[in-house]
């Protein structure tokens, strides 16, 4: 075990944090699975509208690996299969039964259980940051046991009282790799687990990112595959093995400036936003509702759903000040910046700030140097990698470490970027194109 001290990155302090650990139970009116959340899977439906499903029943499987299934979190009736352009499946909406009925799996093998129950799709693999290919044995498995993203509820809350399941899950994962299972903990919330290597990571966000942890422990090389997942999924795996039922409960932090009372909600995965936030959003029309955190989450409509893998709903104002006169010259201490040309740096940036979704500038060529590197605690020249991806120079991308990164690793760099470039999108598209090219 080692203790890593990471210096790069920053903890952003936003208004609307949740205080305390008390949770309220919410049962949603609708549930949905959004196929876009499971990167790398081409959905082939197993159900049609009107079908009855149990919690754990497969809704669809992957075209290339039919054994990877995505399952329903609740029992009920398939109410709608919403499609977009070229009949792409946007979401599968389930109307829940009054009481959740679970499918009982009978597979013996942990891997088979995971594939069949849909828990497999909760893992990601590097390279490409996609749902792992079940035919490839991973070099190592990395488990993240804390969430360092802005306004995230502590992950320890999610796994509290599930230590037994955690250990069971770790044991099962240990059998799936020839290498090791690494668990990355925050220094203040170290888990005591056997059969794995527990490391601690001190430092600001993105210290909790799987990519950052594995880059500091044992980076991925070309030709290698590692799996990444979080401790919540490990606990679910343990529970799945023990009970043969898919655990679907989750604790969601409903947070952000425009939430009237930030709180923790106990619910089932895929719950609809309306049920989770009912009456709790100050100004729905002027708000941006994000499934996830402000850095990596997805913008959802007020009638959207809690998407995977998020355990957080963040609501921030869309545009706070309309028509600001010469905003670039502003001396307002309310404007947050990492640069000391803003007066907020004089008054301290630890206190919560109010952020809106404004871009705060126009898109430019990369001008300032070193901005990305300061936000990425990995041995990677981020700017050069981004340029290689834009140029789609495969050799350079490989040399500069494309296999080690995921879009989320660039989220803070994207926040800090003076040139306002969509870095996460660039990385995602680069990874997708590269995968197509390599397979």
């Amino acid at each position: 075990m080692s203790n890593f001290k990471l210096k790069k990155g920053v903890n952003l302090s936003l208004e609307g944090a949740v205080s305390g650990t008390s949770t309220t139970q919410v049962s949603a009116k609708r549930y949905a699975v959004v196929p876009d959340d499971f990167t790398g899977i081409i959905p082939r439906l197993e159900v049609k509208e009107g079908d009855k499903v149990l919690a754990g029943d497969a809704l669809y499987h992957d075209k290339n690996h039919p054994q990877i299934k995505i399952s329903s979190p609740v029992s009920g009736t398939i109410e709608a299969i919403e499609r977009g352009e070229r009949r792409k499946i946007l979401s599968i909406v389930i109307l829940p039964d009054s009481e959740n009925q679970f499918k009982v799996f009978n597979a013996k093998d942990a891997k088979e259980l995971m594939l069949e129950s849909g828990l497999w799709a909760a893992m990601r693999q590097r390279p490409y940051d996609i749902v792992p290919d079940p035919d490839v044995a991973p070099r190592d498995i990395f488990v993240t046991a804390f969430d360092s993203a802005p306004l995230a509820a502590p992950m320890s809350l999610q796994v509290a009282g599930k230590e037994e399941y955690l250990q069971k899950g770790i044991d099962a994962l240990g059998k799936m790799t020839e290498g090791k299972v690494y668990v990355g903990c925050a220094p203040e919330a170290e888990l005591s687990l056997k059969g794995c290597e527990v490391n601690t990571f001190a430092g600001p966000h993105p210290a909790g990112n799987a990519g950052v942890q594995l880059a500091n422990v044992k980076p991925v090389n070309k030709g290698e595959t590692v799996w990444t997942l979080d401790a919540v999924t490990v606990a679910r795996l343990g529970e799945l093995i023990a009970t043969k039922k898919l655990p679907v409960e989750t604790i969601v932090a409903v947070v952000g400036e425009n939430v009237t009372t930030p709180k923790l909600v106990k619910c089932t995965m895929g719950a609809d936003i309306a049920s989770l936030t009912a009456g709790n959003i100050a100004d729905v029309a002027g708000s941006r509702i994000i499934s996830g955190n402000v850095l990596t989450g997805v913008k959802v409509a007020a009638n959207g759903y809690l998407q995977f893998p998020y355990r957080q709903i963040t609501v921030i104002p869309e545009v706070k000040n309309d028509a600001e006169f010469m905003g670039w010259a502003s001396l307002s201490p309310k404007k947050f910046s990492l640069y000391r040309s803003f007066t907020c740096r004089l008054f301290g940036t630890r206190k919560p700030f109010s952020f809106d979704s404004k871009l705060n500038g126009g898109e430019r060529a990369i001008i300032m140097s070193g901005e990305y590197d300061r936000m990425l605690p990995m041995d990677i020249y981020a700017e050069y990698l981004i340029k290689a991806i834009i140029a789609f120079d495969i050799d350079k991308m490989e040399q500069l470490g494309i296999y080690e990164v995921a879009p989320e690793d660039f989220a803070l760099a994207e926040f800090a970027d003076t040139s306002k470039l969509p870095l996460q999108r660039i990385v995602r598209e680069g990874l997708d194109k590269l995968r197509k090219e390599m397979n």
């Binding site: 809106d356 126009g362 590197d373």
Partner: protein, 404 residues
Amino acid sequence: MKGLRKFLDKAKPNFMPGGKYQKFQSVFEGLETFLLTPNTVATSGVHIHDSNDSKRTMSVVILALMPALLFGIYNIGYQHYLAIGEAEAGFLAMFCFGLLALLPKIVVSYVVGLGIEFIGAQIRGHEIQEGFLVTGILIPMICPINTPVWMIAVATAFAVIFAKEVFGGTGMNIFNVALVTRAVLFFGYPSKMSGDAAFVATDPAFGMGAGTVTDAFTGATPLGQAAIHAGEGVPQLTNILGEPISTLDAFIGLIPGSVGEVSTLCILIGAAILLITGTASWKIMGSVFVGGFVMSLIANTFASAAYPVSMLAPIDQLCLGGFAFAAVFMATDPVTGARTETGKYIYGFLIGVLAILIRIYNGGFPEGAMLAVLFMNAFAPTIDYCVVNANINRRLKRAKATNK
């Protein structure tokens, strides 16, 4: 600000494609975003953004240039009134004279440069970018006050088109645009850019400050004097009336020289603004000074009468000429400089060394800062390439070790 918003919204359709003034779309949008911060919101990726943008960054640089610019304006007047034997003319007169003498050059530099930028943005369908806001003020600051306005216009146009727009505009250029402008002037019109007649405004500006130059007047800059110094011993530097000057005079800057480059003190105030706000890299800035100091020290240790400038003390070398200005404002341009953290040390150090090396050992050029920065601009990508390659090799080695 609602009224302004309404006014702009009303005018906008005229400037959009199909409108009466559609050829000025980029100009209009540039002005609009300058006056009113646009409400563009994040569409992909992160939902919140840092408040800093390139407009802010460029404004900070311009702010940092202000002390040197204001001092430069005063110094133009000071040198002028000293030359015509009216040293007792007040501060206000000197400042006003300087302003009158310099303003046409600032205006011309901006009009020509921004005009070309606007056209470039319109052709490419881009937003107008802010890079020239800094370049436009740098150009008059690094030229001798007696440079004719038309020369500035020609050189600015050449530099903006061939050193910037053809490479793709702001953020894409290889060479520092302001320095290319100066290089064009320097090699195109050498007689106007150096020598005794370039650095002190002896003619009246718009009728102000008329008078005849006193007999004691020589317009040579301290570095110019040092370069032609003959015989043994440290050259005694003088002001334009032949009175000796000290290191402190050179540091404060009441000496002849290019407009913005004279006062090391004011330049250092600008440096403090750039460094405190985190706008410029302290690694580059610091290593330029270190490089310059080391090279001056070496040259001074082996000083010889064949190269009279080598006899100047290292601290004088850093205070005289354009060295400090280049270190603070030119070398730190992030677009044309080294972009890797290790590379920045090497890049800065070599600029410092080269600037002093050229200044001392090349009799053709009394000052080497401009050439040093331009030269290292060309080498910055190579330095970065080596630094990044070290990272690549580390990765390859790691892969080999684990795949064994």
